[in-house]
Subunit: 508 residues, 2 copies
Amino acid sequence: MMHFNTKMLIRSLQKAKNAQYVFRNASSGLPDLTKDRYPVNRADFATLGDKHLQFFRDLLGPQRVITDPAECEGYNVDWIKAVRGYSTCVLKPKTTEEVSKILSFCNDHTVAVCPQGGNTGLVGGSVPVFDEVVLCTSQMNTIYDINDTSGVLICQAGCVLESLDEALAEHGLMMPLDLGAKGSCHIGGNVSTNAGGLRLLRYGNLHGNVLGIEAVKPDGQIIDLLSTLKKDNTGFHLKHLFIGSEGSLGVVTKVAIHCVPKPKAVNLAFVGLPSFENVLKVLKRAKRDLGEILASCEMIDESTLEVCTGNLKLRSPIPEYPFYMLIETHGSNNAHDEEKLNGFLGDVMDSGLVLDGTVTNEPSKMKNIWDLRERITEGFILDGYVFKYDVSLPIEQFYSLVPVFRQRLSNHPDIVRITGYGHLGDGNIHFQVSCKQFSREILEKIEPFVYEYTSRLKGSISAEHGIGFRKPKYMKYSKSPESIAIMKDLKKMFDPKGILNPYKVLPP
Amino acid sequence: MMHFNTKMLIRSLQKAKNAQYVFRNASSGLPDLTKDRYPVNRADFATLGDKHLQFFRDLLGPQRVITDPAECEGYNVDWIKAVRGYSTCVLKPKTTEEVSKILSFCNDHTVAVCPQGGNTGLVGGSVPVFDEVVLCTSQMNTIYDINDTSGVLICQAGCVLESLDEALAEHGLMMPLDLGAKGSCHIGGNVSTNAGGLRLLRYGNLHGNVLGIEAVKPDGQIIDLLSTLKKDNTGFHLKHLFIGSEGSLGVVTKVAIHCVPKPKAVNLAFVGLPSFENVLKVLKRAKRDLGEILASCEMIDESTLEVCTGNLKLRSPIPEYPFYMLIETHGSNNAHDEEKLNGFLGDVMDSGLVLDGTVTNEPSKMKNIWDLRERITEGFILDGYVFKYDVSLPIEQFYSLVPVFRQRLSNHPDIVRITGYGHLGDGNIHFQVSCKQFSREILEKIEPFVYEYTSRLKGSISAEHGIGFRKPKYMKYSKSPESIAIMKDLKKMFDPKGILNPYKVLPP
């Protein structure tokens, strides 16, 4: 195992932590405007004037048309502060009909629109690039129905994921997806970006779990695909066009999701391992021995964990090891689950695959362990600037980017750490190069090499974060020219004027 | 419980069994030609001539261009003998490139093409309506890869579902789907029709399980979407356009599927119940108590079971009851599974919900029980003529069609039985009205009422069988005009000349 001299870098980080980030404007704490940083030109959309604002105010009332520049700011910048638009108008519709009227008007007047949920995206998809009107779903947060027998939830797009989980818990149900951003992200945004997350291994993806959606096309037409049925083979399966197209083809306004029974027994193991080779072996045994109760199988490397233990001062329940795994089980009988889990853990300890570990079903202890995984992104922000990649790779090569880049970028003084962690069970790694400050030199050593490398291994250059504003030109590394041509034809068909979430997803 | 005097009807059936079916041509055993029975006009496609045949023979060699009328017959008629075309040419490509060349040529020469897998469809989607060239995938049956670690299978479209399951078993894996037609159906057809089946309850649908496909557009362009990754958010999720569009937008040539571990423990319970009310209660308890090991939950009503015990002379392991349920568990630890299952069965017996039952994990006994479920369609053919509907309904109304129609059609002398059975756990019932012979009078009492009824309850008029040739005009009962308009735009975009599987899926 090659170590990246992390301790030394962590120390230098501690000193650098309060320094000004190059990617931010020191006076305001905000990053530069996207238009000033990236080579992108504003398309020929209308500039917002009084007649537009008057229409919006007549429709929504003055309270739900935000034009105060200070208040608009939060809607213009993404949460990792990487991109920033300068919209002067944020709209907060409450109903599908209001969304329809807004889009119809904007389409007629060639006003560009940026749909926004919880604004937790990581690829710049949820904030304006220039002055697009922000259509925010935060007031569309009605839960219409939770059916105990069928497990179907129907709600508006602006419901926060965690709130949905809380409401479902009262019915003995649980959302099939879970992510670190659950306290802020909206279900409409989850669906629009085909969010993956921590439980996909067990409960599958949104293309499988979303039973129906309602969406509004850019011309204002409402498309009712809000089926609540598990099986419905009546024509082309249109809902999937809206799942994962990042608000390019329409604004998702309602969703029906097949929820799962809230597990009666939840157990979490946190283990330390000496090598990635062992990580792979433990994954294979977990699948075999835990079978139907395996719910999550995450990996964290040593240097990643240090952003939590070092930057965020979280405590790890076990000493330092080159690799860690979080293995969570969900089941209906705790005695059975514990027997399976203890058998599995005994086996991987006895065989020397795992060096150390802890297992718990106490909620507070589980939360402490999950914090070590879920707060990683937050912890990295304190490193300075993070080049963050979210790729799928064949499982055998899951971790290969890290040693490759440690070699490629060795001895660069600005680098804090090069690390990998993520959804091992799904073959989806988050790969980071963190630096004291933004460096174009480092960027150019990473990109496009990281995409070329991923493409050579037939991986995906964006496993779950999407394309957004920051990756359209790299889509070619995961999609063929023929596929991209079809996407462009679809965009033309759904949005001939291109008003919806422009400059994003599709390559120019 | 209202009983439909089934015994009496069974007796009359036994006498009628050898009579000539009105829907068949007595001399040949074949149904009338579709063009003579249904009000449909041939579109302005080319009629096949020597130049076309010469091209096909040059491309495929004479062995894989079938023009012998007797040999073509089997490709012209569906297996329930409800529709029949008169194609004079069946093509059997082996490679994607051959499919591409065939479609490109047919598109250039405006020759209509009917793609065909195992020809096990139930809505007339897989046979020609007129003289469309049949593009049969039976020789595209190569398995490219089975990955033990990731569980990913990559194969050609013409692989038979059961053969795939056999190949996977050697790797400790299993297909996520299973259906009665498994011995004949092709995986390409399964994907193209979004087949559901018996394990969907546990393993989810094909939109969730298919990782990638390769398809050929009607103009011959090969679309490579053959990802093997569980997560890939790089642009619009195009593969879903081909899953369930019944060969209207392209011919699926390869698939990558996420397969599941073959369960170490399989147990099957077959129970008798006094009422549908009890069926619903047992479903709810099965979900609660069997949780993660529940793999199938099927319901059969008394009158349906009699097509197996009466028509097919199969033996039921328990006496007669108004309702039966098949409950199968898949797990990784047989002791745990048996404990859960025995606890559940003890509970539903003690509480009087279930009157009788048998449980087994012996493969031969399980097969005998599954035969009672899987051979129902075959058994119904012996009733004479079957009006067969495949609908999704809200679970509370799952069985409601049967009493409604027993009342609506009471005292009609031609009726053998009115029954329901199916995928209870997925809300998908197969509803039948079987008659001694085809009767337009009965048909008109069933349709469109059955669709109107389903639509009023927000059900699906085709849960898993699709639209095919027989249901386009009823699609409106499950899909809005806006959705149908988008489907038509998509068809125009993918297939401007309309050569691929014409007269099907989309309403005229």
